[in-house]
């Protein structure tokens, strides 16, 4: 008798759908994955069975609306292993910029023609704020290598490689010249976790911090350095309050500079 293939699901919450593309853009590897596992739910790819019992549930998107809370609890109950993919699911995402902003309550009426159809929570929060998460993959967006690498590891009983080391370490491994040291660029690399392959510093752009805080980031020192390098307080705040604005310590440091600008 043929052993049952592992079953997976890919769920979407408040997000841009970009992280699910790590599966859809994987090319030949997607065919390999489809042979190795049984995909039961993946709306963007056509499979619909949101309550199916699965071995691994991948979750994209933040918990941003009241019904998201019920849905994420159901996903958690249906899955043996829950993996968040991307900045939204892992840290609340770009939409967490509304968190703690007084004027945010009026934004829905300002933006949407028919605001009565919009139901959203006052704050956008990560999946881990509501249910237990087994593995968090950071990124905006996550890469094919991250997602399929982690999937391959889980399917083979190996702990996924998921480093929290700063972008700087990867930058140095790749032999890029440090743009902070040679150009005084306001690079978030020293406090941001790698996973992107040091993409921006590799082409001479300061790291935006897309992959969220590194494992042990000194955001306070980083912010002071940006000030000394010539950024005003508002610019410093914007370095931290961007893709992962709700993740600590970026949230506290960013808010401090925003309030004192």
């Amino acid at each position: 008798m043929k052993a049952q293939r592992p079953r997976i699901a890919v769920h979407k919450f408040a997000s841009c759908d970009g992280c699910q593309l790590a599966f859809l853009n994987a090319g030949e590897a997607l065919l390999t994955l489809a042979q190795r596992v049984e995909i039961l739910h993946f709306a963007e790819a056509g499979w619909l069975d949101p309550l199916a019992k699965v071995d691994i549930a991948f979750v994209e998107g933040s918990i941003s609306a009241p019904h998201d809370i019920e849905r994420i609890r159901a996903v958690r109950e249906s899955a043996k292993f829950l993996v968040t993919i991307g900045a939204c699911a892992t840290a609340g995402g770009l939409q967490a910029l509304r968190n703690g902003v007084k004027e945010a309550a009026g934004w829905v009426a300002d933006i949407y023609a028919s605001p009565q159809y919009i139901e959203s929570l006052p704050e956008s929060r990560p999946v881990s704020a509501h249910v237990k998460v087994d593995l968090e993959i950071w990124g905006c967006p996550v890469t094919i290598e991250q997602v399929l690498g982690a999937t391959a590891s889980l399917l083979n009983g190996v702990t996924p490689v998921n480093p929290g080391e700063p972008v700087c370490v990867e930058c140095k491994r790749r032999g890029h010249a440090c743009i902070m040291v040679t150009q005084n660029a306001p690079c978030m690399g020293p406090v941001t976790r790698t996973g992107c392959g040091a993409l921006c510093p590799g082409v001479g752009r300061a790291c935006y911090g897309c992959f969220g805080p590194a494992e042990l980031p000194n955001a306070v020192s980083m912010a002071k350095h940006f000030e000394q390098a010539g950024l005003d307080k508002r610019e410093v705040a914007r370095r931290f309050l961007f893709i992962t604005s709700a993740a600590q310590p970026f949230a506290d440091v960013g808010r401090h500079y925003k309030e004192n600008e």
Binding site: T32, N156, V158, K172, M180, N218, M222
Partner: protein
Amino acid sequence: MPASRFLPHSALQSLLDALTARGYAVIAPQARDGCIVYTETRHADELPWGIRLEQDPGSSRTIKGTHRQAFAWANGPQALKPLVFAPSEPLWRISRQADGYAVKAAETPQRPLAVIGVRACDLAALAIQDRHFLHGPYPDPRYGARREGMLLVAVNCTHPASTCFCASTGDGPEAKTDFDLALTELDDGFVIEAGSAEGEQILAALPLQDARAAQVEAAAAGIRHAAESQTRAIPGRNLRDALMARLEHPRWQEVAQRCLACGNCTMVCPTCFCHAETEQPELDGSGSLHSREWDSCFGERHGYIHGKQLRPEISQRYRQWLTHKLASWHDQFGRSGCVGCGRCIAWCPVGIDITEEAAALLK
């Protein structure tokens, strides 16, 4: 002692050609992206002619100088380390077989490198890396394959940066051993000497002149000046007992306020050899790739042991780095792990200065 010889700037290409003819890929410094990088070089005119380098804590800038030299700068963020100890490389691949599994080692690098422009600090660092990777009980074959075939053309340092302190560690600015050729640059060429039999053979193929006494003296004066002009110094060549007696010094907390724990100091340090190994199975379950990459004592993996992070705070990680480099290194290798290159000072984004921290800890 053989008479000193002189290689005019105009004949430098003959050195590159002689190395190429002997089967070497020639690695030499070039000015790129605002710093000096060691990279494959075919033509002498690709060298950083007329370039100066200004380095300060957390800052490095290349500047067009008014001189006509190719080596009038101290060093770049890397030199020999990535050439012998690969930043990231596969070690082996395991594949599933009908009756078990097979292991295939990754191919060992074959192409010998000749490196032009090696500084005395980097030769001292290479000797330490050799001890670690080759002369212990478990020699590393991949490091060994790169190292065995490597030809070293030293260039004595005549233009130290403000961050340099090799005179205080005793490792520079003059290359004294372990090179095949050593050059000292003057305005119109190099005083050149051989340090090995192969170096002598290469010299025989070059259009050399006899060096005049004035040229030999100018070369020696350049090196002397390089030593005397250094403004930084490590406060003592053996700080083992002094640092180990200060493990609870408040300075560790103070430096941790500034330290980003980014690991840049360890990545650019020519003697840091820590690495981590990773396992990446294939998606189809047919095999798995085992790789090695540079790691840092400022990173999460370095202090993590079975469910516990031994060094959860930045102060502990900085202390681990500094006390290994300047203290416990003596137990391990019989000398300090610092060769005075100053890279950790220049390439620290917030400019933390190892000489300043060591001095403060001794107070």
